[in-house]
Amino acid sequence: MSIILDKVNYIYSEKTAYEIHALKNINLKIEDGEFIGVIGHTGSGKSTLIQHLNGLMHASSGGIYYNGQDIYDEDYDRKKLRGKVGLVFQYPEHQLFETTIFADVSFGPKNQGFSKKEAELKAFTALRSVGLPEEYWYRSPFELSGGQKRRVAIAGVLAMEPEVLILDEPTAGLDPRGRDEILDQVAKLHEERHMTIILVSHSMEDVAKYVERLIVMNQGSVMLDGTPGEVFAHYQELEAVGLAAPQVTYLMHDLRKRGILVPGTATTLEEAKEAILQIFKK
């Protein structure tokens, strides 16, 4: 299973004065079971990119292949694709509309054509997997706290049982605990179900902690693509485009400049701690 993007271009308002070349010649291969982070500042094209992956947006040119099949083929079922590549938008709680949480989460599978019973079974599993206590399920989604609402909205996408889950800044506006809860849940989906995860984030610390592969978008192009360690080694280039590396990465550089030769390029707190202790515990 994989998603392949072959020379994908996307141009907004083509041939007008407001023309924006939002994606420029994107070539990517996303393998089954990867945990990918996408970073880039606002307007770098990352939101446009992820909306191509589930067929919501149609590339101006280039091809996208899901499991080897061309999704732009005339007889390709793009509606089905949206069920396979689940996309959780920013502030997904704004899309809740049903009278009960359970009914809202069943909306996706019902649209996929499952019977009421099957849809409810899927909603059941999805709500379980985001860890929302059962006593809430038959309440109105609008009575929940911000963090809980967001989990319900994520469950709404999970209920379609996607093979790939894309999340656009799932932690925006949440407090630190709410952020950790959501990201831990996502990591669990990756570990337990080997779901492919694509996480769009503004937080370098978060992506460094969770993802295995990091894609940096800048001005519609893929600027860097590699493990967090590889990507953050280019911290000067990242800064030049208004991004940064995690604080601990800078700390490592600072220490080395001062003659404390800490090993490796730490991107997470744990790595930094180990590296520093290696030197100081001798």
Binding site: K79, R82, F89, H94, L96, F97, F107, G108, N111, Q112
Partner: protein, 266 residues
């Protein structure tokens, strides 16, 4: 798609039209709209076209940008044209099935299309060259005398200016919610009318909730900035007529008289 609606959006360039007093522009727009219902015949058509072209050129708003505003009313336009085309009695030009096109119908349809198109273009010149705030200021001042009749002129104009500011935001929001529901497999297109209406629920409920939340936030933000109605309010840009306004008044009055005269003569 939805973003293309340009009615009510200000286009920031500096032009003669932009600098006019909003009251002048309101009056001129009103006269222009009236003239669209007065004119008759080719000479009248030439006059209203000339008037519109002149104002559009003077406004320095790109024509293409303005035309995009028409997209929003294409359905109404087509319907009106069809009604006129098929339902006007007169000399038959062509006939198929139960439908009959008459020469008068064709003419009526043509003029109706022109009227509507010009109406939209003419009023979008007003909104494209006048900030909503100026526009409501203008209305507030022009309608000032109604205050004595206990009509809340200030409140009405404030509401309008806020509505105008939030139209683009709500349009963008509709786009977003639509996409989010599409990603959950929603289908807004297929099925019969009832099914289609039903499929709008997942779009409309979140949209209303969001609009209420925004209204609530905005009311609070306005209160926090000491808003307490029109009483004792001053203006950053109080309205004052300039020489250009007088000229514009005279020009539009002359234009209107011209169109009326053409109708009487021909």
């Amino acid at each position: 798609m939805l973003r293309d609606i340009t009615i009510g959006q200000y286009y920031p360039v500096d032009s003669v039209i932009h600098r006019l007093d909003p009251r002048t522009k309101l009056m001129a727009a009103m006269l222009y709209i009236l003239s669209l219902f007065v004119f008759r015949g080719w000479a009248g058509f030439a006059a209203v076209t000339l008037g519109l072209v002149l104002v559009i050129v003077l406004s320095r708003v790109p024509f293409g940008y303005m035309v995009r505003g028409l997209k929003a009313v294409v359905v109404i336009l087509v319907l009106t044209v069809l009604f006129n085309l098929f339902l006007t009695p007169g000399e038959t030009l062509a006939e198929f099935w139960k439908l009959r096109i008459t020469w008068e119908g064709l003419k009526n349809a043509g003029f109706m299309a022109v009227r509507l198109t010009y109406l939209i273009l003419g009023s979008s010149v007003l909104t494209l060259t006048t900030t909503p705030n100026q526009l409501t200021d203008g209305m507030e001042k022009a309608l000032g005398p109604f205050n004595r009749l206990h009509i809340p002129v200030h409140e009405i104009s404030m509401m309008m200016s806020i509505a105008l500011r939030f139209i683009p935001i709500l349009i963008e929001e509709t786009d977003k919610i639509m996409k989010a529901q599409l990603a959950r497999g929603a289908d807004f297109e297929s099925g019969n009318l009832i099914k289609k209406a039903k499929s709008m629920v997942p779009l409309l409920v979140p949209l209303f909730i969001s609009a209420f939340r925004r209204a609530n936030d905005l009311a609070m933000a306005m209160e926090a900035r000491c808003y307490h109605g029109g009483e004792g309010r001053t203006k950053m840009k109080p309205l004052r007529y300039k020489r250009a306004d007088i000229a514009a008044y005279l020009l539009s009055a002359g234009y209107f008289a011209g169109v009326v005269a053409l109708r009487i003569i021909w």
